[in-house]
Symmetry: C2
């Protein structure tokens, strides 16, 4: 199953909004096939493993990181393919939390006389697709926040003025984060100040949906983000309304990139699941724009730190005492 | 010479206010002796190497990381010991910048017919004793600043209230920094809020001189720092006056530990040579005490980053555009 999880990981970003899934076929103690969901719209992991298989799956055991699906989406239901292949036993890391599946895949397998084992490396399998589980269990997207600060905790020299803080390696990491999220979200202030493209350039990756929170200020029609159709403008909505709308639209993960007010409002709503802090080796000083987060009972786990060129990159899982996130 | 520099490093902290020095004796291509200055008041490196030597130094070459001294201090002049030992050649990394020596050691050696080579790994040797060079060249102590912040760049929940931000591993690093500096410096607010001991407990080390900047508020007579004689209270002085007084007192290095106003005034004076930032995984929020550093042309070099338990520890060399530091 560990190998299946590692395989699944290879689809990160590309499979969105689907979950990453890996599958391995074992027969007589030998691995006869393996596969993973590579890209949205393409074969699911189970089908990929069956296609890559040497010999016959008759009597084999399938290890799969997520419950096989029971419905026809972009591809036919995997549970049926598994049954047809003559597989004897299926070991599943974790149940599919989506309403469409949620145990129905397992039922299909069992009805067909297949032995099913559930829960092997469940924690790791949930962690792998935390966006997908958050989406179905909390009925809102998984929210990540990216915050770039100077050493003295400042965001920019002044409001609505673009400040280049971090370096090229941090840009690569940031674009990696965009690739990993289905959507990114900024306030209109960011559009007005920076006219950013908000796409993935520094690495090879998927361009996320660009969500712009618009207040009363008009956005220029020739802004860079309007050059293609991959954007969504939300007007005068609070965080709760935003999350509800994004859930309805099937957006499983959002990277909140700023600016200050947008980050602060998501912070106050206590819905940020993961933080990505970048510290640049600069001191912007007292006249610059600081962060004004609310008082909170937030603590952190899964803290990872790395040097990113001349910057520092900190990734932390948020543990809200309120339990909202 | 690289080995001599590594040997010298072993005396870090213990030799203060002396510089760290390492020495190696080579004869017929073989290392016949080595030594370093281990502790203030004890043998200098050259003498230690001569004492540890196998056979005779007659005709040997001495590699030493700093010019041998020419004056009698706690121990007799090293240049004389080198001459007496019959050494033929002395390779010196860097000239001693102190007025007492500053070339006089080299003169003595040359007068005695010893060949002298100067400048091997000079940059590294200067870096090793940057406090000592700063002291003699800039006529002020080398200044390091320690800043502990939350992720949002805040120092404490409120003024004069002790906030525990960083963890036990960061405390060890901090105490290591105290050991490495001849003195540490805090404002009276820190004494009033924390009543700290300001000594070295978390590791084995040397207790630095504790300097307290006193304003108009009285300090309690039973404060922890007054329990021994190793303190210095400076009343109502600005940074320039403080540095002048500390230079006169022969203090070669000072670790500025805070609080907020003290750090800010040293920052404004542009005399901080090195920064030690500790970031704790907490968000103190907008009501807490932030840092108000001046606008500046400060940049950084020699940036090192490490995880320190759950905290992040960043060490940076300050490059002031003004060139004051």
């Amino acid at each position: 199953m560990r190998r299946a999880l590692r395989l699944a990981e290879k689809g990160r970003g590309w499979v969105l909004p689907n979950p990453m899934v890996g599958a391995i076929l074992v027969k007589d103690g030998e691995r006869i096939g393996e596969g993973f969901h590579q890209k949205y719209g393409e074969d699911h992991a189970e089908v990929a493993a069956l296609k890559n298989m040497k010999g016959s799956a008759e009597g084999a055991t399938l290890y799969v990181t997520l419950e096989p699906c029971s419905h026809t989406g972009k591809t036919p239901p995997c549970a049926e393919a598994v049954i047809k292949a003559g597989i004897k036993k299926v070991v599943i890391a974790v149940k599919d939390p989506s309403e469409k599946v949620n145990g129905k895949g397992i039922e299909l397998l069992k009805k067909a006389g297949i032995e099913v084992e559930l829960g092997l490396l469940e924690k790791e399998a949930r962690e792998l697709n935390k966006n997908f589980f958050t989406f179905h269990e909390k009925k809102r997207p998984f929210i990540s926040a990216k915050v770039a600060l100077s050493l003295d905790g400042k965001m920019a020299e002044s409001r609505d003025k673009r400040t280049f803080l971090t370096g090229p390696l941090s840009e690569k990491i940031s674009h990696g984060l965009r690739h990993e999220h289905q959507a990114i979200l900024v306030g209109s202030g960011t559009i007005l100040a920076d006219d950013p493209q908000l796409n993935v350039r520094a690495i090879e990756g998927r361009n996320p949906l660009r969500i712009i929170l618009k207040g009363d200020r008009e956005l220029p029609k020739d802004a860079a983000i309007f050059r293609d159709e991959n954007f969504l403008v939300l007007e005068n909505k609070n965080v709760e309304e935003i999350l509800k709308e994004l859930h309805e639209k099937g957006i499983t993960s959002v990277l909140v990139e700023g600016g200050k007010e947008v980050l602060e409002s998501f912070f106050s709503a206590e819905v940020i699941d993961e933080f990505h802090f970048f510290y640049a080796p600069k001191i912007l000083g007292q006249k610059s724009l600081g962060l004004s987060f609310n008082e909170n009972d937030l603590s952190f786990s899964q803290i990872s730190v790395r040097k990113s060129g001349r910057d520092v990159y900190l990734r932390l899982k948020a543990e809200w005492d309120s339990g909202k996130a």
